[in-house]
Symmetry: C2
Subunit: 473 residues, 2 copies
């Protein structure tokens, strides 16, 4: 005998067949009809509900395919025997992270000034790259398309003294992604030496990939070699061009000492993160450590997210020969994570000379910003600056205050600076020091921001009313 069913209520945008399916599936789950009992025939359901035969057939075919009903010859559909589905309450969604506070000035080290970017050229090249290359819908080379890798190898030889074949380059969607990929090439439980202070994200990435991070202190020349030698590490992560966050540059003597360390065992490597090497103000950009390496010991990591824009998710890893072989073994069938259209757009941007021109312009812009900002800060007195000869951030020290006082006082003025302690793991942070990025601050407002910082960090709290003039528009 056919079992009576509750009538569904059709509402909303979903197709009727799907709504009918969901209604019947729910009914069967709740035992209406019970296991083995018949459902209405398709024709009868059409008449009952006033819907088309294709709606009912769509719903019944889903119920059949999913196993809610079985089809018996000459008796139509009967409900299947179902196990109880656990219906625990769904936990509430975690609260969304607070929106990035409305700072007057955020001195983030990862901000970039995109006003210098030749956006209309990029858009035009992108348009042509897409329209003219429908073939790029097909899978490309796992390491990134060869023409882009050839252009990158040329660019890196010219600008960074990097010596590599395009075959050694792996293009990927951001430096974090490529670091994750690289860490998967090392045996689980490898010891990785990290600069301290250094990038917190590198530390946590090493841990998440099942390796053992070891803190190695940074001195005025970069990673301390004695500590590295004692660390037992197989991989050392360094930022030789402009140490993050201290801003020191590694001299060649230290570089050669690190290379010697790496050369002393076959499985030792140096990872050179050249994150903001494009920008150097006191001298021309310093060639990469990679170019000094004659033993296949340096892995080089670079990105366009600072030199072009954060939203352009293209970074590149250069693997020495032995790690390249390991990469091909571990990731035999991976797909490149960067859209081939974006790869082709970037390639044209490079080979047409637009990138070089953009680097010159943005370098000049950042040099000017750095000069205005640091001069204004130095004129405040009582503040010491270090690491300002390169990159897009520097350290600011106010010897008469503690680090938390500095952060708190600047926050009261609406300015976000970053405590140096947040980049320290085991090394005690240099006292009274914060990290200040300036790339994202508008050039007209640098002096205003500096004046506010000067007031906030003055040795004696200034009397009320001693505000600097309003910021320029």
């Amino acid at each position: 005998m056919e079992h009576p069913i509750h009538m569904p209520v059709f509402q909303g945008d979903q197709p009727l067949y799907l709504q009918l399916y969901q209604h019947l599936a729910r009914e069967i789950q709740q035992g209406r009809p019970g296991a083995g009992k018949k459902l209405p025939s398709k024709r009868r359901l059409c008449t009952m509900l006033g819907v088309s035969m294709s709606t009912v057939e769509g719903a019944y075919s889903l119920l059949l395919a999913e196993g809610y009903v079985r089809s018996l010859p000459r008796s139509g559909y009967v409900a299947a025997q179902l196990h109880d589905v656990q219906t625990q309450p769904v936990p509430d969604l975690p609260p969304a992270p607070p929106p990035s506070s409305q700072w007057l000035y955020d001195c983030s080290t990862s901000a970039v000034d995109t006003t210098a970017f030749p956006f209309s050229s990029w858009a035009r090249i992108n348009k042509d790259a897409v329209y003219q290359n429908p073939g790029l819908l097909q899978p490309g080379h796992p390491q990134g398309d060869e023409p882009l890798r050839v252009a990158l190898a040329g660019l890196l030889a010219q600008y960074r003294g990097v010596c590599c074949s395009p075959e050694q380059i792996v293009v990927g969607a951001g430096a974090d992604y490529l670091l994750s990929l690289l860490l998967q090439l090392f045996p689980l439980g490898s010891t990785v030496a990290l600069e301290d202070p250094g990038y917190p994200t590198a530390w946590s990435a090493v841990e998440r990939h099942g390796h053992r991070p070891v803190s190695v202190p940074v001195d005025q020349d970069g990673m301390n070699p004695q500590a590295l030698e004692q660390s037992g590490a197989t991989l050392a992560y360094v930022t030789p061009s402009h140490q993050f966050p201290l801003g020191v540059t590694m001299p060649v003597e230290r570089r050669s000492r690190l290379l010697r360390w790496a050369g002393q065992a076959p499985d030792r490597y140096l990872l050179e993160d050249d994150y903001d090497s494009e920008f150097r103000y006191a001298s021309r950009p310093i060639p990469a450590l990679q170019g000094l390496d004659h033993g296949g010991k340096v892995i080089y990591l670079g990105t366009f997210s600072r030199s072009i824009a954060p939203a352009i998710r293209v970074a590149y890893l250069i693997l020495p020969p032995q790690l390249l072989a390991r990469y091909r073994q571990v990731f035999p069938q991976s797909a490149c994570t960067v859209s081939r259209f974006e790869q082709e757009t970037l390639r044209q941007f490079l080979v047409q000379g637009l990138y070089s021109r953009h680097l010159r312009r943005s370098g000049n812009l950042y040099r000017r910003k750095c000069l205005i900002f640091t001069q204004a800060l130095e004129s405040c007195g009582n503040l010491a600056l270090t690491g300002q000869n390169a990159g897009l951030h520097f350290l600011l020290t106010a010897p008469h205050l503690t680090e938390p006082e500095m952060v708190e006082r600047t926050a009261e003025r609406g300015i976000c600076v970053y405590p140096l302690s947040r980049y320290c793991h085991q090394v005690p942070p240099p006292p009274s020091t914060v990290v200040v990025g300036y790339a994202g601050l508008p050039v007209q407002q640098l002096e205003h921001c500096a004046a506010l910082l000067g007031l906030a960090l003055a040795p004696i709290t200034p009397p009320p009313g001693s505000e600097p003039p309003d910021a320029p528009p």
Copy 2:
């Protein structure tokens, strides 16, 4: 006294200052001049070499910044004391992987027919998305921009019965990337149950992330629940809509049993990889397992690389509330790996209804391809097909041959099919069976390909000259 230096030979494209720097750095490394000895003055070097002062200054400033020379007041530059740089021979590059052989027909399971893709609409939308949104150069939401996530949540509710908030979605550059991200949310050493046979890349990803993969056999209803219950796993990776590679669909009883398993411990989860759920021929698409989950136990993974094109690197992960909280804790400052311009292009493609239209058209195309191909194969006799009611591949069994014989014989005809054993870990592969994908084969050549397969897999080797007619153009 000033030390004589070898004259540099300038050649190639590199700027002169860089060539001069490299030459002098090499000289100093080789002890010319020795430590503490003077280099020529800048002015003298200009005259000696016939280059401009800015060339010499560029080179000297690099040497100084890198520590090759020191600057002494009133005596100019002297060479620094350097350690020997190890100069082991660089290992040779590993041989490049062989180029994908020139198969007549490659029955890969990951190929896609991009001829059905409305490329000109995509290009037009992309052009507008870029030109009209220079603001997208700035960093976006780590999980992907909200408008895209809203569109995805709507699409998934309508097409897949997935029930989620846009807040739960994480957009990323491909399913492999998102699987890697997900695996980093579980404590190291977690036990992960994997379908056997199943995706080999999932197995190796689990291992690379420091977890323990466990093989769970697949029966005619999908992952075997008793074996799962005994596996000790906290995460089970399943493909309920169309098991890869067997092609079975998991009925609701099995789904509810897996959900019950997940509900029995607070840290148990199911990962539903819905990789090709868009394509189903015998019934309408089957709603996702995720939609049955009322306890926050199912993680859902989807991708556009099959339904749009392999080069569109956009996939999405839906995290249940507890894992979303963990994700925000583990990746507090990550950047989304998909270009914001591509995110906006995809969003418009979805909300303008172009994706729905494309799915209908490509679904019809694949249905037609499947029908032509499977009918042609069935007419060969002696061949059995399974799993052809959904997705873009099926299993082909030739009971009179071994699996290696099948692969070898088809290869002799220029056809690449995939041995089922390659997807098996501990479970013995069903005998005499290969995996055949057809999405990438041109529709006019399916009958020719089937005829060749029929000849290759015939019980008796056909006499010479029994070739099928030539392939259509």
